[in-house]
């Protein structure tokens, strides 16, 4: 029994000491093996370039969204299926089709965080890298704001890095203020690029990321918007002309064959300034042309089946969009070389059927066609037409027609032969953009600019808008309003 008591005492002591020992906090310390936490990231200069790459995925997602750039325009009607939102039918209201702009602010948030964190790093062994990263990040932030500005007009200006649930409750800043910020970011980007020791205006290190030339293109685009929609006047237009002149010296040229515009990947495309990258293995879902490509079973029996870019699997083509009669009517010149790369009419034994869009035909692989074309954000023909638009607005019709004709020349439609008045040329530029940039996700913004510039009245021109009074900017949805009492609904709703 004595032995037992001793043993018992010993064990009790060990037990108690174990209890005390386990009190040591280290027992619960686990080092994550498969996740990157805030404790370890942004602790090294090497973290910034991958982070910047990541932000481009948000840019790609917005570039691929046709609800805002296309649906409200006149370009599309439904085909065998229908995938339109109420933006297409212009029945937008605060309770139907309204925007929750969280995705834009996600991208903006990523930029804000990067710009905040990079301040503490000198990049002393490679200062050019820091400049490049900062330049691209400013460009991306400008892209997000410029995209959002064209959708909702006045927008909250979030410029600080949010790291916890303390989110400032911002009001919507007037669009002119937002535009000021966009210009400031673009100028900051340009300044950073120019400050690099090995700066070269003709350098496009990647056609999928912002470079000096593509930042200038966005700036020209923003200036046109500023001039025509935000009352920026001739100063903005003049600057746009200057900026585009700079772009013209960055070593780009038009493809001789219009089919190569989307037929050659952006990386090897001499006309493209920047595109959103798509590739079948990286983005399995494909780009927005998935909705435009038919799938085999809905076009079976077509007499011209072999000429139609169709997918075998409905996962790669949804057969939901076709070109509208109104857009087709812009191609009044049958010699227009762009027509076969814009649409094809499906011919069935019982008669003509759907006009399938061929602008982004995807890639035909041995197994199936996949909608994996790069989505072009800016290309030289677009920039030429911007310059034509700027000149026309400045009433410099001669120079305007000159740039218009660059585009017409390639299309094989000959030099502009219409009236050389400001109004006529501006209308022609709008129509030319409708032909040249069909289904490139720009139409609604083009229409808005020319509507504000007095060239066209979208309330009579866009069939689904005719007879309606739907405001031109989108409403914000109830989630946006509920979570920030300082946000006011978009004018007109």
């Amino acid at each position: 029994m004595v032995f037992m008591k001793k043993l018992c005492l010993k064990i009790l002591m060990v037990f108690l000491s174990a209890a005390i020992l386990s009190g040591c906090k280290s027992i619960l310390d686990v080092t994550p093996q498969s996740s990157i936490t805030e404790q370890v990231f942004f602790k090294s200069e090497g973290d910034f370039e991958p982070n910047l790459v990541g932000i481009y995925t948000v840019m790609r997602s917005l570039a691929n969204n046709v609800t805002y750039g296309t649906e409200r325009g006149e370009e599309l009607i439904s085909a065998s299926n229908s995938r339109f939102t109420v933006a297409w039918s212009h029945t937008l209201s605060p309770s139907s089709g309204a925007v929750n702009y969280a995705e834009w602010y996600k991208g903006i948030g990523h930029c804000n965080l990067l710009l905040d964190k990079i301040q503490g790093f000198a990049f002393s062994s490679n200062p050019d890298l820091k400049k490049k990263i900062v330049a691209e990040t400013y460009a991306l932030r400008a892209y997000f704001y410029f995209h959002l500005l064209r959708i909702i007009g006045d927008a909250p200006l979030m410029l600080e890095a949010v790291v916890n649930d303390n989110v400032p409750l911002l009001p919507r800043s007037p669009a002119t203020e937002v535009m000021k910020q966009i210009k400031a970011d673009l100028d900051a980007a340009i300044q950073q690029f120019k400050g690099m020791s090995n700066f070269s205006a003709t350098s496009y290190p990647s056609k999928y990321r912002f470079a000096y030339g593509s930042v200038l293109a966005m700036k020209a685009d923003a200036l046109l918007w500023s001039a025509k929609v935000l009352g920026g006047g001739n100063a903005d237009l003049q600057e746009a002309v200057t900026v585009i002149s700079d772009i013209e010296t960055t070593g780009l040229s038009l493809n001789d064959n219009f089919g190569n515009v989307t037929g050659i990947r952006a990386s090897a495309n001499k006309e493209v300034l920047i595109a959103a990258y798509f590739q079948r293995d990286e983005t399995a879902a494909g780009n927005y042309s998935k909705n435009a490509l038919p799938f085999l079973s809905i076009i079976q029996g077509a007499l011209n089946l072999d000429s139609i870019p169709y997918a075998v699997s409905s996962g790669n083509g949804q057969g939901a969009y076709q070109i509208s009669p109104l857009s087709k009517s812009l191609f009044s010149n049958t010699a227009d070389k762009r027509i076969p790369f814009t649409w094809i009419l499906e011919r069935q034994p019982s008669g003509p059927k759907v006009s399938w869009i061929t602008k982004y035909p995807g890639t035909k692989y041995s197994d199936d066609r996949v909608p994996d074309n790069d989505i072009i954000v800016y290309r030289l023909a677009d920039v030429y037409l911007m310059k034509a638009e700027a000149y026309a607005a400045l009433n410099d019709v001669a120079n305007s027609v000159k740039y218009l004709d660059y585009v017409r020349g390639r299309a094989g439609t000959g030099a502009y032969a219409g009236a050389v008045t400001k109004a006529a040329v501006e209308k022609e530029i709008l129509d030319e953009r409708g032909r040249e940039l069909f289904f490139e996700n720009k139409r609604w913004f083009d229409l808005l600019r020319f509507h504000k510039g007095g060239t066209v009245n979208v309330y009579t021109y866009v069939p689904n808008l005719a007879g309606k009074s739907t405001p031109l900017f989108w409403p914000v949805n109830s989630t946006v309003l509920a979570n920030n009492p300082n946000i006011k609904q978009t004018d007109g709703y």
């Binding site: 018992c8 386990s22 093996q33 498969s34 809905i298 197994d367 989630t479």
Partner: protein, 1116 residues
């Protein structure tokens, strides 16, 4: 790790044993048996009271002979687990003595935390399930047997795939608002899209693990702990309640027995949709398309084979025989394939019809009889063998089980092999060792993608070809609406789980009443999923990934170490005290390996054997689909103490304290303290209590706190994840961190009365509880200007308050016939009580603005708000159906339906469309016109069990019910509106009397049957409300909602115990045969498929089958 090693040391312990000797004159002999089973007891120590050192032990037959000094002595019988008994000899030479087990002396025993207590002493809300309730269930998952049996425990089993369990086991409403789940699943056979994990902690033989896949036959007892007095001791994980399961053990000193049991089950579809036949569908589809005003492409559908009831002109022989649609022009097929071919088809069952929209044209078609091919009688077999017994020092129970269940849907199955070994060894008088090993191998065959492969694919039209002329299956319409036989032919999915649990434990009695109980357990859980898709014929629709293979393994491990020191002592005889202190350390790790490839070159190799790249059109493409490994680890450490005290069993007091730490919290918030207190008063033990009617009466109450730590590392520390762009490897912030996160805690108060009437012939238990869950660990919405829409947050509080009633009665108790019944009822009300300040009324999170008719104002509704019950449903109110186009036109002039499809808005309303209520009278139907319809989750649940015994016969009838939920009949809506693909079978309602069919049809319930209601139509049926289910497979239209209240007649079992005189003939100790029917019928007003739907909508799919069983148990 030092701490760990020390813990392990405790498993190796030493003790001391004492011996006996004997000498005497008067000889007494006899047999000692168990008072309950009458089995002889071996190794009972028998001594003389006056001379404790002398004595003997019983032999293998329970016999003993003892020599005494005289015939006036008193024998003292002692045996582990049995109560000590004194037997005066009184000069009798032979004594047959019965010993009762300790537990039966105390009455029923409950496990409370780390101790065992008699029910009488218990002050907590604990329900114990009779093992008999588990025996009669034909389902391999024990969760199913719990349904309706325990007051306040809800078991939402929403589907009938073999082996499937419940979405959650919800005790007293759980601690999360979305415990019942919402949305529609499309992965791993799950029928629910998402649910808040609200499962209780399940402890099986002292090991934290899942209840799924445990063999019900191995369970000896199962109890459910519901209040803080019983759960606080589990601290960290007890907030959702605790289920404690003990598996079967052997008994010391019992003869070996072998039990064999067998069960065969036939399962059939219990409720089925009535779909139209091919002829009815063809007629309806063609006339509907021809006559509609919807902006669909009629020519394409009708004449270019745009849907299954459309024709097309075939030009080549062989085209029709492999085309997916069976409808064709008779003359065209004769012309292309020849009369012989057509005659052959007609002989095989093909039919002809005069085209209803083009009289004079003959259509050729066939009915695929798909429903008959899909749903079969599933045959299941279950076998168990158990060997158990014990010597004087060791007890053992060894069992093996095998289950092979086939589901009613072709190709679904569940197979399980399991082995359980429980060994106890009395190493010394004061040291008992236990060893448990449990092995499970589970091989299910689920329909993986519930939405695509079940909800959608099983209702393709009767005009879709299932097999081609060459005998191979067609893909069906699309891969996301795929012919089941195509899946079975080309896809080979093998999943399996292997689990091995081992546990070693010791109970060392240091001095009388002082026990040291260390234990160590290790759980190995390996889940593997292997998939291979064979090459599919090139001339049919192709999958997005061809010849796809996947190999996924998730290896989980759990190490648990417990050390408990317990001291039981009495003060002055009547004061009984138990003190306990201990610690627990749990470490969970998992390792996931995921590999996938596509574009294999052949179908011969099941495993991945592809080159990593392929060149297509000159470009290099990777064949690698998945390629990742992850390691995860969490740890928890806890220290706890428990005390209980009673005075003469009259006044009972208990308390626990637990200090819990979890690794996923930031350093300052890792630990939290969880206390509880409870008290009880056995009024019937008072001397003044003399009632004959109320035979026992106890009041008890408890208060305590339990916790929940359901958060991931990234919730605390943030996360950056990979994001590739343009072939660059990127890293992007994936969520905000919140290092300030604290433990979620649930404070429960429980007040209860337990009473017995008429010598406890009737028992009644009533509990009232109030459960307040604070610092809820969930996401909180952020302003849309933030980089993320939510952040994980200690997001306010939620309260569950309710009443539980359990009644047990021996209604008839005659020697020959008895009738026992149990009834339970529980009412639970969940309310969000507090949310972080956010400048909105009631600090609402989520929700939308609707128009409130009562106040005539716009108000916020939905989401979560202070003072509101969560998961209400709002939808669009239907006032009726337009009888004529004129009636519709008048409406169109006043009101525009902004929620119709964009094409439909242009067309406007016509006769046959629903008249939606413009609640705010603003001339527009939009989200502001949503009206409140009801709640998704039931708030009243319970069950009733009846057992009738007559001689050897026993009849059990059980039922359970749930009240208070509404269901949208999404399956009906979707087939009336024909989705977006045009190819869903039409329901019998489509041509029934309630549906609008022609101009002038007045007062109909249902809008017209139409095609592409969502894409091109008025969205009569396929309409989602922001505050409704908001799911494409539900319909947030008032007409489609019905009350889900049901009473399920769950089980009828008739069993017969053969009398001993028969079983003796073949040397058996017992034989029982039984027949049962499970999921017999529903008493419900719900007209859809499945009233057991708690997610707000019934998309169709795989309802629970009706199961007929025959079986027998044979014991030697």
């Amino acid at each position: 790790m030092k701490c760990l090693r020390i813990c392990c040391c405790f498993l190796f312990l030493f003790g001391i044993q004492k011996g006996y000797s004997q000498s005497a004159e008067f000889t007494v002999s006899g047999t000692v048996r168990d008072s309950a089973t009458h089995e002889p007891l071996i190794g009972v120590s028998i001594s003389v009271k006056s001379k404790p050192a002398s004595g003997t032990v019983t032999d293998e037959g329970g016999h003993f002979i003892v020599k005494l000094a005289s015939g006036n002595e008193t024998l003292l019988l002692r045996m582990i687990n049995y109560s000590t008994k004194e037997v005066p000899v009184n000069n009798r030479r032979e004594h047959n003595i019965l010993l009762s087990t300790v537990s039966s002396q105390l009455g029923e025993v409950l496990i409370v935390g780390y101790t065992e207590q008699s029910v009488k002493k218990n002050t907590a809300a604990i329900s114990k399930l009779d093992a008999a309730e588990l025996k009669n269930n034909p389902n391999p998952n024990p969760v199913q047997a719990l349904q309706g049996k325990v007051a306040g425990v809800s078991i939402p089993i929403t589907q009938g795939q073999p082996g499937i369990g419940a979405t959650n086991i919800i005790i007293r409403g759980g601690t999360k608002p979305n415990a019942y789940g919402s949305g529609l699943g499309n992965n791993n056979g799950e029928s629910i899209g998402s649910s808040d994990g609200s499962d209780p902690l399940v402890i099986i033989d002292g090991v934290f693990r899942s209840m799924n896949d445990v063999n019900p036959d191995d369970i000896e007892s199962l109890q459910v702990m519901k209040d803080a007095a019983s759960t606080a001791i589990y601290g960290a994980r007890g907030a959702n309640g605790v289920i404690v399961i003990k598996t079967k053990r052997g008994r010391l000193n019992t003869r070996s027995s072998i039990t064999l049991s067998h069960r065969t089950t036939w399962e059939t579809q219990a409720r089925d949709y009535k779909y139209l036949s091919a002829a009815e569908y063809l007629r309806l589809a063609r006339t509907t398309v021809a006559n509609t005003d919807d902006a669909i492409n009629k020519d394409n559908l009708l004449n270019n084979g745009g849907f299954s009831a459309g024709t097309r002109v075939y030009t080549q022989p062989g085209q029709y025989g492999k085309n997916i649609y069976l409808t064709a022009l008779y003359d065209n097929i004769v012309a292309v394939e020849g009369q012989q071919y057509v005659d052959n088809l007609l002989a095989k069952g093909w039919q002809t019809m005069d085209d209803p929209i083009n009289p004079g044209t003959k259509l050729l078609y066939a009915d695929n009889h798909y429903q008959d091919m899909l749903w079969k009688t599933g045959l299941s077999n279950t076998d168990n063998v158990t060997i158990s017994g014990g010597t004087d020092k060791a007890d053992y129970n060894f069992s093996m089980g095998y289950t092979d269940q086939k589901g009613v849907l072709v190709g679904t199955a569940y197979k399980r092999y399991n082995v359980l070994g429980n060994f106890g060894y009395q190493a010394f008088d004061n040291l008992k060792l236990d060893f448990m090993v449990n092995y499970q191998n589970v091989i299910p065959k689920y329909v993986d993608a519930y939405q695509n492969d079940l909800v959608r694919a099983i209702r393709i039209t009767p005009l879709i070809r299932i097999f081609k002329d060459d005998g191979n299956p067609t893909p069906g319409e699309l891969y996301t609406v795929r012919n089941r036989f195509h899946t079975l032919r080309y896809d080979d999915m093998r999943t399996s789980t292997e689990r091995m649990v081992t546990r070693m434990a010791a109970d060392w009695t240091i001095i009388k009443g002082l026990h040291f109980k260390p234990s160590l357990s290790y759980l190995i859980d390996d889940y593997t999923e292997m998939f291979m898709r064979k090459g599919t014929p090139a001339d049919e629709v192709q999958p997005s990934m061809q010849r796809w293979k996947d190999d996924y393994t998730n290896s989980s491990r759990q190490l648990m170490i417990d050390q408990v020191l317990q001291y039981d002592f009495n003060v002055q005889q009547d004061h009984h005290v138990t003190l306990l202190a201990g610690m627990n350390y749990t470490r969970n790790t998992n390792h996931v390996k995921d590999m996938g490839s596509q574009r294999a070159t052949n179908d011969y190799i099941y495993t991945i054997d592809e080159p990593t790249t392929t060149v297509i059109n000159g470009a290099v493409f990777s064949n690698v689909v998945d390629f990742s490994t992850t390691l995860g680890e969490t740890r928890s450490a806890s220290f706890f103490g428990q005390f209980s005290y009673d005075y003469k069993m009259r006044y009972i007091l208990g308390g626990t304290l637990r200090y819990d730490g979890f690794s996923n919290f930031a350093p300052d918030n890792k630990y939290a303290l969880f206390p509880s207190l409870s008290a009880g008063w056995n009024i019937d033990k008072e001397s003044f209590w003399k009632s004959n009617i109320v035979s026992s009466l106890k009041v008890r109450g408890s208060w305590g706190v339990a916790g929940l730590s359901g958060l991931s590392l990234s919730d605390t520390y943030g996360q950056y994840s990979s994001a590739s762009y343009a072939m660059y490897a990127g890293i992007i912030r994936a969520g905000l961190s919140n290092p300030g996160l604290r433990w979620e805690s649930t404070v429960t108060t429980d007040l209860a009365v337990d009473a017995g009437f008429l010598k406890d012939r009737i028992t009644l238990s009533v509990d009232y509880y109030n459960k307040l869950t604070k610092d809820r660990l969930t996401s909180k919405p952020l302003p849309s200007e933030a980089p993320f829409t939510t952040i994980t947050y200690n997001n306010g509080a939620l309260r569950n308050r309710g009443v539980e009633v359990a009644i047990g009665a021996a209604i008839i108790r005659s020697p020959k016939f008895s009738w026992n019944a149990n009834f339970s009822f529980a009412f639970n009300r969940t309310v969000i009580t507090k949310l972080p300040q956010n400048n909105r009324a009631k600090n609402r999170q989520g929700g939308d603005i609707i128009f409130d008719k009562a106040s005539g104002k716009e108000i916020e509704a939905g989401g979560f708000a202070e003072g509101e019950r969560p998961y209400g449903i709002w939808g669009y109110n239907v006032l009726g159906v337009f009888a004529t186009n004129e009636e519709a036109a008048a409406w169109n002039a006043r009101i525009k339906d902004n929620l119709a499809s964009p094409q439909g808005i242009i067309v406007g309303k016509r006769g046959g469309d629903f008249i939606f209520e413009d609640v705010n009278n603003d001339g527009v139907i939009d989200t502001k016109d949503q009206v409140f319809l009801g709640y998704r989750n039931p708030d009243k649940i319970g069950g009733i069990q009846n057992t009738f015994n007559y001689k050897g016969f026993s009849l059990r009838i059980t039922a359970d019910y749930a009240l208070g939920h509404i269901i949208s009949n999404g399956a009906l809506a979707r087939s009336m509106g024909q989705g977006r693909a045009f190819n869903e079978g039409a329901p019998s309602q489509a041509i029934g009397p309630d549906v609008w069919k022609a101009q002038g049809d007045e007062g109909k319930k249902y809008a017209r049957f139409s095609f592409a209601d969502y894409d091109f139509g008025q969205r009569n049926y396929l309409r989602s409300a922001t505050l409704g289910n908001n799911n494409g497979y539900g319909s947030d239209v008032s007409v489609m909602f019905e009350k889900g209240d049901f009473l399920a007649l769950r089980e009828i079992t008739l069993s017969y115990d053969f009398p001993a005189r028969i079983t003796n003939r073949f040397k058996a100790a017992g034989l029982n045969v039984f027949a049962s029917v499970y999921n017999v019928a529903y008493l419900t007003g719900y007209t859809g498929l499945n009233p057991e739907i708690y997610s707000g909508f019934d998309p169709g799919g795989y309802p629970r089958p009706r199961q007929f069983s025959l079986g027998a148990n044979l014991r030697f």
